[in-house]
């Protein structure tokens, strides 16, 4: 009888760690043929539409980068939290907290000098997301409440807070829809490329990659967070204040997600709506995993995801394959990446038994 066993393998060289996510992406794209074929799409035509829709023209390319901005921020948020084993599944709610804060300030900061408005909104949006994430971090460290469950449940609490406000005090006067009024001009992100929606938020997201990389690699805090992630007990006995590390991790993680919400509101929607996020917070989890929790990896995986999401729209228009295929591909990408990551540490051994 032949049996398969997983056995530890020698550490792979550096190039393999770059090659593996690339291979995972390729395998995912190959597997995507299954739902495309099931939906009756022509394969070459569909893939062409996917990539043309995402990258084919200047406008499409810029739209892809715009889509990348929130995904990159939520991806970084999740990656930063997961690295310290703070299971933040709540980026979705933290994003909404940021958007909610941006709306409130964007409607009320009328007498403030215009050059101060955006910085104030961004800082407050960051704090709103960060504090919303600090709640489950506190519950985890002080009361041992499972962070997966509490961050998930808080997403629903935030959705309903938003709903209550959009059907209540924040509702646009005279409107019967759950939407706010438009924020003031000074609160809008500047557009950086003519004839497009390419905005400041994209640069902020890319800058965040370097900031997180710097924190991870060059600061004591980054080292401590890593130690907490590897083994919280050992870190504790090694003299690290693990409670404070987890709290700060949550604050920064939630803050990044909050910034994503600020960007969606102040650069694209200009008013709060219930559908402010089509699940960016959840996509952030996949993006973080696909990027192997490394900020530069997250940059590339968020780019890959925005290509898929923007491209799927075009594919849907041209070939009739439902655009929800983007979500299917996201799910597949995560599972493929997981399996690939496993084989960076393990190899399959064939054991023969008589």
């Amino acid at each position: 009888m032949i049996r398969f066993r997983l056995a530890k393998r020698a550490p792979l060289p550096g190039w393999a760690r770059i090659l593996i996510p690339v291979a995972a992406v390729v395998v995912t794209l190959i597997l995507s043929a299954i739902p495309i074929l099931v939906a009756g799409g022509h394969l070459l035509e569909s893939y062409y539409a996917l990539f043309f829709g995402a990258l084919g023209t200047r406008f499409n390319l810029l739209e892809t980068l715009i889509k990348m901005s929130p995904l990159l921020l939520t991806g970084l948020a999740v990656a930063f939290a997961f690295r310290a084993k703070f299971w933040n599944i709540g980026a979705e709610g933290q994003l909404m907290a940021g958007a909610l804060m941006a709306t409130t300030l964007g409607l009320s900061l009328k007498g403030v000098p215009p050059f101060l408005v955006l910085p104030m909104i961004m800082v407050s949006g960051f704090l709103a997301g960060g504090l919303w994430a600090a709640i489950p971090a506190l519950l985890k460290t002080k009361l041992k409440v499972d962070d997966v469950v509490s961050t998930l449940l808080l997403n629903y609490v935030m959705i309903h807070i938003m709903g209550a406000l959009l059907f209540g005090p924040l509702q646009q006067p005279g409107s019967s829809w759950p939407r706010s009024s438009e924020i003031i001009e000074a609160a809008k992100y500047p557009i950086l490329a003519p004839r497009s929606r390419f905005h400041l938020g994209v640069l902020i997201a890319v800058a965040a990659v370097f900031v997180i990389w710097f924190i991870n690699k060059k600061t004591v805090f980054g080292y401590q967070a890593k130690a907490v992630g590897v083994n919280v007990r050992v870190a504790h006995f090694g003299g690290i204040n693990t409670t404070s590390v987890i709290l700060w991790t949550a604050l920064i993680s939630g803050g990044l997600a909050g910034l994503a919400g600020v960007g969606e509101l102040c650069a694209l929607q200009y008013r709060l709506i219930m559908d402010i996020s089509p699940g960016y917070g959840y996509s952030g989890i996949v993006i973080a995993m696909l990027g192997n929790l490394h900020p530069v990896g997250v940059l590339f995986s968020s780019l890959f995801f925005s290509v898929i999401i923007v491209g799927a729209q075009t594919m849907s228009r041209m070939t009739g394959v439902p655009s929800y295929i983007a979500e299917v591909i996201q799910g597949m990408a995560l599972m493929v990446m997981l399996v690939f990551l496993l084989f960076t540490e393990y190899k399959l051994k064939v054991v023969r038994k008589s």
Binding site: L143, L153, Y156, A164
Partner: protein, 315 residues
């Protein structure tokens, strides 16, 4: 309120409680079986959505509600098998594989629904399950009409509570399951196949999660909406902790959630001048509060979250 109205209100509230608790009971029981064997299945939310979608679609196509429920169970089992492959056989992080299953199933549910139904202005509906009135019991004063005029699936859920309790605590199979969840090494030593046991528990749990999802589209409502599960899978995960991994106590938690959910529906109907989202928030908030109450003294199955690889002697 007059006594008559009061009785009607209580009956309505009890009925709503039983109804809203049903999918949570199914999901909580499914999750308890999985976690007792040592696997946290965070795929639950996605599995329930696939169950809801599949149950609805199959009923729409076949015309039979029970075939729909069966299909929901089967699809739940299939997804749980995928979960077992990732988390049990490959030993990947249970957190991440579960979330992967949820994201994948969520995408798949919406994709398949769109593919089959398209995007008509009026979504298709099925003729949902009818409530079954149990004679004698349903004429009990006050509680009778609320508790004993329910959907067949609700009665099934209630039947499953003692069945699974007995299975877990009073049978050899249950002993095996609990040993695998507490100490895989011991289980392995006495000749229990750890990975197979975990897989079977996941698959059985997946079936229950799928059926729980289908209740929402075949009984509670008669159509499929993208947000039909609305976090009920995560609530079930919370109920497992709340119930300290015990089917009876978990069901009690589900019942409390059902009561709050039913209450908020009633309160909305009474026309307060408060946005109804405040009411919608209450069950989730109180679930978190409940977790705060129990989490410190929770006794987690010791083998939970730990993949078992014989060579490495983990767990």
């Amino acid at each position: 309120m007059s006594p008559m109205l009061e009785a009607a209100f209580i009956a309505g509230l009890l009925g709503a409680m039983m109804r809203m608790a049903t999918p949570i009971i199914f999901a909580t029981l499914g999750e308890i079986i999985s976690e007792r064997a040592g696997v946290l299945n965070l795929g639950i939310e996605g599995i329930m959505l696939m169950g809801a979608m599949t149950g609805f679609l199959v009923t729409l196509l076949s015309g039979s509600l029970w075939i729909g429920v069966l299909a929901a169970a089967l699809v739940g089992m299939a997804l749980a098998l995928l979960m077992a492959f990732l988390s049990v056989y490959l030993g990947l992080s249970q957190h991440v594989s579960g979330l992967g299953i949820t994201l994948f199933s969520t995408g798949l549910a919406m994709f398949v629904y769109r593919l089959q139904v398209g995007s008509p202005t009026v979504p298709p509906t099925v003729e949902p399950f009818k409530q079954i009135t149990i004679p004698v019991l349903s004429s009990l004063p006050v509680i009778g009409p609320g508790l004993f005029r329910q959907y067949a699936l609700t009665y099934v859920a209630w039947l499953l509570v003692p069945v699974i309790s007995i299975l877990l605590y009073k049978t050899r199979i249950g002993l095996k399951i609990r040993t695998v969840g507490e100490s895989p090494v011991v289980a392995d030593t006495v000749g229990v196949n750890v990975n197979l046991t975990r897989t079977l528990c996941l698959v059985a749990g997946g079936a229950l999660m799928g059926v729980g999802g289908s209740f929402l589209t075949l009984a509670h409502q008669n159509m499929f909406l993208m947000d039909v599960i609305g976090g009920r899978g995560w609530v079930a995960i919370a109920m497992v902790i709340f119930g300290n991994w015990d089917p009876l106590k978990g069901t009690l938690g589900a019942l409390i959630f059902g009561f709050l959910d039913g209450l908020q529906l009633r309160l909305q109907g009474l026309g307060f001048k408060i946005p109804f989202h405040i009411f919608l928030m209450i069950p989730y908030l109180l679930t978190i509060v409940a977790l705060i109450g129990v989490s410190r003294k929770a006794t987690v199955p010791a083998g939970l979250l730990k993949p078992y690889r014989r060579e490495e002697k983990t767990g």
